[in-house]
């Protein structure tokens, strides 16, 4: 029921929305919860396990009951707390976990079976047979246990991530947070003030307290206005700081557009912030705790503080006749606020015998509510005193068991809270988070005056730590009542008294857990599910701990708390992963010939972040093998062009450049002549192969190293390590030039003829022999030419500045096609190199040594190099090790597959009989059958042996013969032609 003349809602701005298909009206400023209560909708959800009817319990992010699904289709957003969701025109909300409807829920039969469904039910029931665990039991449990469901469709909504830096992060904009931010901001430091609510002020917007002679909400608005005008302040509303991380890093979720109907895929829905703060003031307030009594979960039973919030902030009376049940003075103000708003208060039932009335209402002292009635909405309550029991007709019960400081985030870095007997609650332990100060209600200071003062004190501490001068701030006048409370966790009696509303955990469940020896608090939590799911026990944890302490005969501090972990309240994975969806997860790197390649219809394949052509389909070719075979042949018989720019290129210069190369490569580079290229093998310090490639010497002090595409980053980091950490005395500098040079292989018997058609000065075998390099000019462009070969053919690689890459590629291709050649892709490149026994990272996969790939003689005896000593270990030179060999099919099955393992021909394919494995295969058009490279025990000694090749995954088996890994032109005559 809407109250006249109350609340911070805009009555000139009516908003129409729907809940379960029924259209309702509210006002701008309403939450879904306040608007539903204004429309007297009490039943909003069904509980998780027993499908009991539930209503709104709280007025904040701690809400355990009122979970709804907002929107529909791909944009449906499940488990949204109605207490946080602001209404907007056209908002569609639906209840969850009820079938066929919220009013009649078939699964409510669980509630009748409740005596059998207590703590540990699943563990005891779904035990045997084991085969049922995943196929039968899990689907049953998942269907029965209900929160909202995701749509299963990709959501086009936009999420962002952002970073912010500040001197001071203030978490929470209640009286303490506002004063802390104001004090620090006036002193000139950079402040971020974040609050999860849509308007700042915290409880000042929910209470009738006066600050500095004005309404608390008006005072808060005036402070916010002052802060908003300051350049050194960033105000972040609708922003929940979700976690505290190392070195002052905080995660925060900003709900940017959940309160609007901007869902066009362009407007940002949520932003996940990472805030780096030198200092932090946590002023996150306190959460009111319920009291456990029989059937305390009926719609209409709410937290007393929430009732005040609905009355004062939203102008909504949650009931027509309200009763208050509490163990503290604070809750009595609920009755006064209601009466002032014209709502009938039936009684205030206080468990304390000596409680005093603070106003003109019926007070029943020394009394406890012991039962309630009303199936889908509260109808009456029964209370008990020393002299007997009586019932009261009421449609709303405001309950309060006192307040729990919000210690959560102070425990995110292994901190444990401290028990304070005087307020019967946990408070943060000082120093739990480095450079964080805790102030106000979240530190156990509950009066407004104390909060305001604590905010100033916290800011003074921060300013002192930052070395900034404190500018005097006047602490405003405010109420300073003493917090009077006597603990009451649960009312004794039969029947179910609910603790954790979200997980349907009752007092009985906690006692049962203790009885069955789940006495350790973390065990109790897992056994009962107390404190799980979206609210993480924000309402119920302390009560549950108190009851566990009681059941186990220990004190509450000895019982301890479960572990608080981020996030404080739910964060969508989409927000945390913002920017990393789709291509954002793996940005694309394109070669300069990309456009020309795609124009020719070449399918692109990924090589790390790079995209390279698989093959270039010619007219009439219907599958990739036809293209691949043709491309191999054209390289062997004419000339082929291939973009090899993705290989890492590192420009190395300086007097000690040669010394660096000698040290990182196993073989010698200081002896390399200027104008020559050499193949090099690089080891890790543990003696295993890191990478290989060619390095060209352009002058005495200038080299260009190439790395494999895959290891370019690793090699760069390795060179940085060697020069900075091992040999800082060397005078050498290097830089990656991978993206600065476009480089193309020109391979085949007609390679030189082709080049001589495009080079400004022709070359011949004398001035450009195998492994020569130097400057050339191609079509007027200064470039470099390297006579190197990864195909086994007479071949070159020509490099030009990347901006000429597209043009030079097209030029080379035109020439090649005119000579009976053409472009070749990765498939053909792979076959060509397998025919020659050249290795790639398929072979040097991290577990092989130079010895294993037959290159142990490349480790120079004349010098030290990375990996030299460790490569000499006995076990790494064992003749029986798996060593690189070639393989060809000799049985009926002609197909070879990479990843297959070898076994003796007449023995079973078992791990004990394993002889090695295949690393690379390709169909060789040159030989007319498959060729493979792989590793086999004994290596060269096995040449001529026949083995069983078994690919257990693909179900392929073949007989192979072990042969020398270089199938084609073992003497290398073609390359020198």
């Amino acid at each position: 029921m809407r109250l006249a003349n109350k609340g911070l809602i805009d009555r000139k701005a009516p908003v129409s929305f729907s809940f379960d298909g029924v259209t309702y009206n509210g006002f701008q400023g309403d939450t879904l919860a306040s608007a539903l209560l204004a429309n007297e909708v009490r039943l909003v959800a069904r509980s998780f396990k027993y499908h009991r009817p539930r209503g709104v319990l709280t007025a904040g992010s701690e809400e355990p009951n009122a979970l709804t699904t907002i929107g529909s289709g791909a944009q449906a957003d499940p488990n949204v707390r109605a207490t946080v969701q602001e209404i907007y025109s056209g908002l569609e909300a639906r209840s969850q976990n009820a079938w066929p409807s919220l009013g009649f829920d078939a699964m409510a039969i669980n509630d009748l079976a409740a005596p059998f469904l207590g703590a540990g039910f699943y563990y005891k029931t779904f035990m045997w047979p084991r085969a049922f665990w995943e196929r039968v039991y899990e689907p049953i449990i998942r269907r029965a246990a209900g929160l909202g469901a995701l749509s299963g469709q990709a959501n086009a909504d936009k999420y962002e991530r952002a970073f912010a830096h500040c001197d001071l992060l203030v978490i929470g904009a209640g009286p303490a947070g506002l004063m802390a931010a104001l004090t620090a901001a006036r002193a000139g430091v950079d402040v971020i003030l974040a609050d999860e609510d849509s308007i700042m002020g915290g409880r000042l917007n929910a209470e009738t307290h006066r600050v500095d002679g004005q309404a608390g909400c008006d005072w808060a608005a005036s402070v916010v206005a002052e802060l908003a005008d300051m350049d050194n302040v960033r105000l972040m509303t609708r922003t929940t700081v979700t976690g505290a991380y190392d070195q002052g890093t905080y995660g925060a979720l900003e709900r940017v557009n959940h309160h609007t109907n901007l869902r066009d895929g362009k407007a940002v829905l949520e932003t996940f912030w990472r805030i780096a703060a030198k200092q932090t003031v946590r002023a996150a307030g306190a959460l009111e705790r319920p009291i456990a009594f029989q059937t305390n979960d009926r719609p209409g039973i709410m937290m007393a503080g929430a009732v005040r919030a609905y009355v004062n902030r939203w102008g909504v009376a949650p009931g027509k006749t309200v009763t208050v049940f509490a163990n503290n003075d604070d809750a009595h103000r609920t009755a006064i606020n209601l009466q002032d708003a014209g709502v009938h208060v039936a009684a205030v039932i206080d468990s304390r015998a000596n409680a005093k009335a603070l106003g003109d209402y019926r007070l029943i002292t020394g009394a406890e509510v012991c039962a309630t009635s009303g199936r889908k909405a509260l109808e009456s309550i029964t209370y008990r005193t020393a002299s007997g029991s009586d019932s009261i007709s009421t449609d709303c019960l405001a309950m309060s068991g006192g307040w729990n400081p919000s210690v959560h985030m102070t425990c995110h870095m292994n901190g444990r809270p401290t028990w304070r007997e005087d307020i019967a609650s946990f408070v943060p332990t000082a120093g739990s988070i480095p450079n964080m100060t805790v102030a106000g209600a979240c530190n156990g200071d509950f009066s407004t005056a104390a909060c305001l003062a604590a905010g100033v004190t916290a800011a003074q501490d921060v300013l002192a730590a930052l070395g900034v001068k404190f500018v005097d701030v006047t602490i405003p006048e405010a109420e300073n009542s003493v917090y009077k409370m006597e603990p009451l966790w649960a009312v004794a009696g039969k029947g179910r008294a609910w603790l954790d509303f979200q997980n349907d955990v009752s007092v009985k469940d906690i006692k049962q857990a203790a009885r069955e020896n789940f006495r350790f608090v973390e065990h109790m939590k897992r056994y009962t599910t107390q404190g799980m799911a979206t609210d993480q026990g924000k309402n119920s944890n302390v009560n549950a701990l108190a009851l566990l302490a009681d059941a186990t005969g220990r004190g509450i501090p000895e019982t301890g708390t479960t572990t608080f972990r981020p996030p404080y309240s739910p964060v969508s994975i989409a927000a945390m992963g913002a920017g990393a969806q789709g291509k954002g997860f793996m940005p694309e790197r394109f070669i300069t010939s990309h456009a020309a390649t795609v124009e020719r219809g070449a399918p692109m394949m990924e090589a790390g972040l790079w995209y390279r052509p698989s093959y270039f389909p010619a007219k009439d070719e219907t599958n990739w093998r036809q293209s691949c075979d043709r491309e191999v042949n054209l390289v062997r018989e004419a000339v082929g062009i291939c973009d090899v720019s993705t290989l890492g290129k590192i420009d190395i210069q300086g007097p000690d450049a040669a010394a660096l190369l000698d040290f990182v490569y196993t073989n010698m580079f200081s002896t390399l002549k200027v104008g020559r290229v050499r193949y090099g093998l690089m080891l890790r310090e543990d003696g295993h192969v890191m990478d290989d490639g060619t390095t060209a010497r352009l002058s005495d002090t200038h080299f260009v190293m190439t790395t494999t595409t895959a290891a370019a980053g690793q090699v760069m980091r390795h060179l940085e390590f060697v020069t900075q950490c091992l040999r800082p005395d060397w005078d050498v500098r290097f830089v990656s030039v991978t993206e600065q040079w476009a480089q193309f292989a020109v391979a085949g018997p007609k390679a030189r003829d082709l080049l001589n058609g495009v080079l400004d000065t022709p070359i011949d075998n004398d001035n450009w022999p195998f492994m020569a390099c130097g400057d050339v000019t191609v079509a007027g462009v200064q470039g470099r030419l390297f006579r190197i070969s990864f195909s086994g053919e007479h071949a070159y690689e020509i490099a030009v500045p990347a901006r000429y890459g597209d043009g030079v590629f097209r030029l080379l291709l035109k020439q090649a096609e005119a000579m009976g050649g053409g472009a070749y892709g990765m498939e053909a490149l792979n076959v060509l190199r397998i025919e020659k026994g050249f290795i790639t990272h398929s072979e040097i996969h991290g577990r092989v040594t130079a010895f294993d790939v037959g290159m142990d003689r490349m480790i120079s005896a004349k010098k030290d190099c990375i990996g030299k000593v460790m490569a000499q270990r006995d076990g790494l030179l064992d003749e029986d090790r798996e060593q690189l060999m070639g393989f060809k099919p000799v049985g009926v099955v002609k197909q070879l597959t990479a990843g297959a393992h070898f076994y003796p021909e007449d023995e079973e394919a078992t791990p004990d009989n394993d002889q090695g494995y295949m690393t690379s295969v390709g169909f060789s058009p040159t030989f007319g059958h498959f060729l493979g490279l792989g590793f086999v025990r004994g290596g060269p000694a096995r040449a001529g042996d026949r083995l069983r090749m078994v690919d257990a995954i693909r179900g392929i088996e073949a007989v192979v013969e072990v042969c020398h890994p270089v199938f084609l032109d073992p003497k290398g005559e073609r390359t020198r032609g």
Binding site: T249, R274, A276, P434, E685, D729, M870
Partner: protein, 90 residues
């Protein structure tokens, strides 16, 4: 987590690559014993508490830095350029 790069200042951990204990700086001579090499390449104490470790600012200035970090609390106690640390030792 944030690390103080001596060149760039305090930066987010996502900019860094982690290598392990700063033992890596103390590469043995070619003639050193097999045991010394085993220690260098493989053996680490792995005690909780302050540890000198190697980080590479590979999304920043490319400097290798020696960070002293308490592995139990993640408190960063200091950072220096590996180059400077190595030169001081030599």
């Amino acid at each position: 987590m944030r690390l103080p790069c001596p060149i760039c200042g305090e930066r987010d951990i996502r900019e860094f690559y982690y290598q392990g204990a700063a033992v890596a700086l103390d590469r043995p001579d070619l003639e050193a014993s097999v045991e010394a090499w085993q220690d260098y390449v493989y053996l680490r104490d792995n005690q909780p508490g302050p540890l000198r470790e190697m980080w590479h600012h590979d999304s920043g200035c490319s400097a290798w830095i020696v960070v002293t970090r308490n592995t139990a609390t993640h408190e960063v106690l200091g950072a220096a350029l590996a180059t400077d640390v190595k030169r001081t030792k030599a």
